[in-house]
Subunit: 232 residues, 2 copies
């Protein structure tokens, strides 16, 4: 963890002289930059990524990054998109019948991706949609359309399902990072107001929730509520 801490060296050592290529870093590339950015944010959250740290991590100078990348925002976009890759239903054949399974599989993978990198949830609301997100949306559209949803309901259905994933992930990523939220909600008594949140406490809503189960169950409610053209 602290293998790089050299005591009393110059401020940022990096690329020492010419003949002494000690660590022999591979050349900078967009892929390496993005991957390092993801690692930094996995380790330290959104604030864990600074251009200087990123450069140090790659053994390069800060401004070298800017030849490959326009801005830090650019790095964020690329990192977010790189984390959301999805290779669709491996055999396109099986999706003939089991549209529900296809949808659920893709959404749970999506959710898993974002929970593996909790910073992505906080990033999603403020970045444009990258290629991988669009690909997932496209897959969702195609599957739902084939499942026989009335055309006039299709868009609303897609958005509803999308929203379910977004909302669930965003919420959980938030809670996981500071579970003070739950404690605050259930333990703190506002005292000034006199009343707190009895129903929430009663249902143990914020406490011992099985998030995965709730996600699946809620998705079930949603899919059950969708109006299909043909009943099967």
């Amino acid at each position: 963890m602290a293998t790089r801490t050299s005591s009393a060296g110059p401020k940022r050592p990096q690329r020492t002289g010419k003949s002494l290529q000690s660590t022999q870093e591979p050349p900078l590339s967009l892929e390496r930059i993005v991957q390092a950015a993801v690692e930094l944010m996995d380790a330290g959250g959104l604030d864990g990524l600074t251009m200087r740290r990123l450069a140090d991590h790659l053994g390069s100078g800060v401004m070298s990054l800017y030849w490959h990348v326009d801005s830090k925002e650019d790095v964020l976009d690329l990192a977010l998109d790189s984390v959301l890759e999805y290779q669709g239903p491996t055999s396109a054949s099986r999706s003939r019948e089991d549209w529900r399974g296809d949808v659920i599989r893709m959404l749970e993978d999506w959710r898993a991706c974002m929970l593996r990198h909790p910073w992505s949830a906080a990033l999603l609301p403020r970045r444009a949609l990258g290629a991988n997100i669009l690909a997932r949306l496209e897959l969702l559209s195609r599957t739902l359309s084939r499942a026989g949803i009335a055309d006039e309901d299709l868009n609303a259905a897609i958005w509803s399902i999308w929203n379910h994933v977004m909302g669930a992930t965003v919420t959980l990523a938030n809670f996981d990072r500071s579970d003070d939220a739950r404690k605050a909600a259930t333990q703190r008594r506002p005292e000034g107001t006199g009343g707190d949140y009895p129903t929430i406490e009663g249902s143990r809503l914020l406490l011992d929730e099985d998030w995965d189960g709730a996600f699946r169950k809620g998705l079930g409610f949603l899919l059950d509520g969708l109006p299909l053209k043909k009943v099967d």
Copy 2:
């Protein structure tokens, strides 16, 4: 818009001397600070809020803010919560029957609040739940519970509905801020990959969506899919 631009004055005028109380600002208070923070972010987004600008806006010194407030994060929390206030169903009587209407009213108000202050959507995923959010959750819990949802389904139902609002709002706030997203999604042809997103284009998913309608419709799907104990 530019009424405050005084040419060649000192860097930040603020509270000139003792006898010349020109603008006679009311004293600093937490309420004033929070309100000013909301105004700044309404005008300039998340980045529009800096402690220095906030102080200027209030006619005070920067560090004076820190007597009322612990940190900038504190300001963000307070601003977010202040924007999500909700005075429940005015007459508690009417909610006896129309639980569906009560839920929809509260959620649409919630969504409207967040869309009125688009920065709030980007903030929500990374801040803990404030009192007003908890109050809304509590109301939702109570209403749903009274509507006759099976106890074992209650939590999943609450989360599903919550997620719907969160997802829809977060997505829309994102899109509204840069509608380049839609153009990029539908116009840009990835060329490298060869294929783009035909189904999305076909359904005009990202183009001419009636967001309010889709939100309502999707909420309908969700509520229709909820398993009620008693059918009515």
